[in-house]
Structures are given as structure tokens and as C-alpha cells.
Symmetry: C2
Subunit: 177 residues, 2 copies
Amino acid sequence: MNPRALHKISYGLYIVSSIKGDKINGQIANALIQITSEPQTIAVSINKTNLTHEYMTQSHVCTISVLNQDTPMPFIGTFGFKSGRNINKFQDVNYKAGVTKAPIVLDNTLAYIEARIIDKVNVETHTIFIGKVEDAEILSQEKPMTYEYYHQVKGGFSPKTAPTYSRIMDQKSKKEI
Amino acid sequence: MNPRALHKISYGLYIVSSIKGDKINGQIANALIQITSEPQTIAVSINKTNLTHEYMTQSHVCTISVLNQDTPMPFIGTFGFKSGRNINKFQDVNYKAGVTKAPIVLDNTLAYIEARIIDKVNVETHTIFIGKVEDAEILSQEKPMTYEYYHQVKGGFSPKTAPTYSRIMDQKSKKEI
């Protein structure tokens, strides 16, 4: 058994945002797939301890921003390694309210998807949120950031709350893989 | 609303295989994600009309073969565009039985994952199968095939039963995108 085999699954890199009353938050996610095409539905895996999880559970809406390949690391750091419980992640970020009222991050975003949550599944540390697509737009023809590019080219890490987090350390580069 | 925005989601390309009694089958899938890391769980979206869906529903096991970037199109065609109801897809393919007894396709495979299905979710035309990883191995350090590479470089199509199937046609290339 080699648990690293699961690192061979391919992903993109996204910001999943949601709303709760007058509060908004968003976080980096990679575990996102389309489930059906007619109607269009998606699924995303979110850690139960994350603030965005709380907001999605309460408001039943979320937005997905598809990040482009040139997204700067500090931007990913703000949404991926900090908590909305401590900072306002949207302070210096361009965003708009979507048809669901949830915020859509526009910086470094080549496309977005808005979804209304129609089901959720409890899986150990995470919840799979299943959403029906309410709106979706392409903003540019830039290349999407892949999770592999983020790790290999940008030298990025996975936070402990990621579905793909691994305690295994790469002894060559001394960083998590 | 631009439904093509969902094409900006990144995926790999996999063969999902299963077993029912002494019968085996497998199919191409792209909508696969890891859900949790401790324990390792995965989720995959499978069309309800597919034979592999029937086998997974009955045996509660499946294997995932992560395809490499050089996987030939006829091989993908056999597993992606033909039905195990009409042909034996494994006839000229190297495979082995896993710890779950489900077949693991080895040709063009750089890593594999075996899972026992612990939950499933009904979403319109598809079922999301959630599996606990029972075994996993890396077979080579080749590059994984991405869904984008399959479409852009290899000129591949999506079958009608794919989560990402679209009726939209690209007018420039006259093929489905």
C-alpha cells in the first residue's frame, strides 16, 4: 500500500466562497468535480472545521472561482492558509455578489460557477456538498491553475484541512508533497 | 449563464473497474476526487446506465487505474465508448485481481487505487460512489493524462454518459468540447 498513489489524481485550484447573513468568506479548494450535465451539478469536498463549511451549511449556496495559472502565491496563501475567523479575506480583493448573494472572487479568476446546495454527504473529516448550478460565466481564456502546477512549479503546500493533505514529506525538497 | 464555464474544471483520466460474480467490467471516468486523507477516501461520479455502475452497486468495490499521458486513443475508445454488455473489454488487456477481487487494469496505468464503497449519493443521471481506499500503488513515474490534454492534444470527445458531456459544439473544429 502506497498512500502517495492518491497524489496521482489530477485537480484544478479554486476559491469556494459563501455567505452567512452579512458575513462572507472563501477558501481554497481542489476537490471539485462536475457530477451531471443535465441539469448541471457539481460536488466539492470541504473540511468540517472550516468557516466556509459553516456558511455553506447555513446558507445552502456557494460560488466557485476557477483560478488562473498565474495566481500569485500570497493570494493563495490568504484564501488557503488563513481563517476567516481571524481576518477579512475579502479586504483587498475584487469581488461581486452573485445571483445567490454569495460573493464571487474576481481577482485571478478565469471562470466562475454559482451553485445552490441540494444535498450533502458526511465523510469522516469532510462534507461533500452537492450543488445545482445557478449561474456560470467565463471571464478570460487564461490557463486554469492545476494542482500539479501549484505543487511542482509554484512550490505550494497543502494545508492540514485539505482532502489531499499528506504527512509524507519529500526528503529531497524537504517539503510536503 | 455560460454552461461552458464548467469546462474550466480540471480532471485526470481514469479507468474505473468492478466485478459482479465472475464477470468484470471497466469504464473511463474523469470525475474523481479524494475526499479525506485520514482515512483515505475517494468519490467518483458514474452514470446510472453504465454496466460498471451496476457492478459497483452490487459488489461495493471498485478499482481506479490512473492513465498516463501516452495512453493510445483506441484503448480509451474501448473503455470509454463501448459497453461491456456487448464486448469483453478485458480481452486484450493486462490486468490483475486486486485485494477486493475487482480487476485492476495495468496497461497505460501509472498508479492504481482500490476502494470499498461505503456510501453513495443519487444525483439525477449519476451516482456518486464514495469509497474507502483498501490498497494503492504507484507503478511508474509517467505523467498522468489530464482531461484537458485528452481533449486539446489527443482530440478526444466526451461520451453522452460523462458528467462533463456537453451538446455544445465548437464551430471552429466541428467537434464536441
